[in-house]
Subunit: 259 residues, 2 copies
């Protein structure tokens, strides 16, 4: 690849890293009604019967300058990847807070924030409601990036969007194609501490190392996976009273986000 090709490739990659395809009439309508969200394309099934909701969605998409495409039902389900729930409507949104892992690493290396980075890494969070709540709290609190692996985690589906109360569209999300452990190693190489949360840790959240911190939240039942554990440089717990053994993972995320 020559320089031009490589620049073009990078630009494309970054453009697509911001693109989120949502589906279902209500989720699409809510996204379109949000003035901060840019819409790239609206996809409609040709089989949609004319009705108020689809008309409203089309009008909003037009007013936002989006391209409107019509597909047969099967083609639409290839776009939504969820024929059961797409209701003949999907939209490609451009989420301003989404970025690639490369961009995040670049920002950390250039000290772009002029302060330490605080990152959440999600390792096997399988409940979409928990994912949505984590995104909502992280977006409201002091978190600069949320690492969301495409495998082994709940994804940004209608349930997640609902539980996030729409904050997912402006949250600082880094979707990972590969293994979370690889991303964590890349962040470790950029001088981030990789901090696993575990009720069996010796130190508490108050005793985190200073500097750029990546907090790893594990699965609701099994905690941080073995592969991911191997990348953790530190472990912390949240001290609990009354013999309570664990907190809901979305609560843990919020306590980190607002720490």
């Amino acid at each position: 690849m020559n320089q031009g090709d490589s620049d073009h490739y990078l630009a494309r990659k970054r453009f697509f890293s911001r693109m989120l395809t949502v589906y279902g009439r209500k989720p699409v309508l809510e996204a379109l009604e949000n003035k901060d969200i840019q819409v790239h394309r609206l996809h409609l099934a040709s089989s949609n019967k004319p009705g108020d909701l689809v008309r409203k969605i089309s009008e909003l998409a037009t007013s936002k300058g989006a391209e409107i495409l019509h597909h047969d039902k099967q083609a639409l389900s290839r776009i939504s990847r969820n024929a059961k729930q797409d209701q003949g409507v999907a939209a490609d949104l451009l989420c301003p807070g989404f970025q690639t892992l490369d961009q995040l690493v670049e920002q950390i290396k250039s000290n772009a924030l002029n302060r330490d980075f605080r990152i959440l890494a999600l390792d096997g969070i399988t409940n979409p409601q928990n994912l949505g709540m984590i995104i909502r709290s992280a977006c409201a609190g002091n978190i600069d990036a949320i690492l969301l692996p495409s495998k082994g985690c709940a994804q940004i589906d209608p349930l997640t969007i609902k539980a996030s109360v729409g904050t997912v569209f402006r949250a600082p999300i880094v979707r990972l194609d590969g293994q979370l452990a690889d991303a964590l190693r890349a962040l470790k190489d950029s001088k981030c501490a990789i901090i696993g949360l575990s009720s069996r840790a010796q130190n508490t959240l108050n005793e985190c190392p200073s500097g750029n911190n990546v907090f790893v939240l594990g699965n609701e039942t099994h905690g941080v996976s073995d592969t991911t554990q191997a990348t953790c440089s530190d472990w912390v717990k949240i001290p609990m009273n009354n013999g309570v053994e664990s907190l809901n993972v979305a609560v843990t995320a919020a306590l980190i986000a607002f720490h």
Copy 2:
């Protein structure tokens, strides 16, 4: 009422304030398996077919010294108050952390903890999952009492118990028969600050008055009710980034509990 009667009445009231009736085979089994929970009575429907689960429940109840009573289906549903979900099984537990409002007020007046009290008051929390999560976080964090009105709030049902991961049985819960506003006025008279949570507040959670604090959490959609608002002496907010307007109420509770 003479003194003896009045003492007897008070003792009865306090005994019953600790009693929680749970129903459904799995919730009852889990409660019985918890070694910290005392069981007063096990109620079984005479129509229950003999089976492993009911046998296990009966054996556990016997080993814990509980009285076992058999009822016809209708009588059992009057005890469980939920014929649809009781599955022919109910148990009266004695929860050590439960108490009456009078007891709480007495403790505050006598400075029983040798430090300030931190109390959560729930005003119209209607989602049992939120209630369960609030109880779990409050029990794990630094909360001395949770005020749970019997009207207008979700109650301690199987969903709540599940979301609380069983912590409800040892949580410091004060169930209120009357209006929350009346209880808040009683606490105000005992030198507690009544602090409403609202995103429109000027001050932040960091700027709470020192002393005994009661934090009022309002309904998931409508916030603190008008009647309750009138009792609030202070208002605080949790500062949020990225234009996020609100947090999940269970997350707010956790941030208070671990503040």
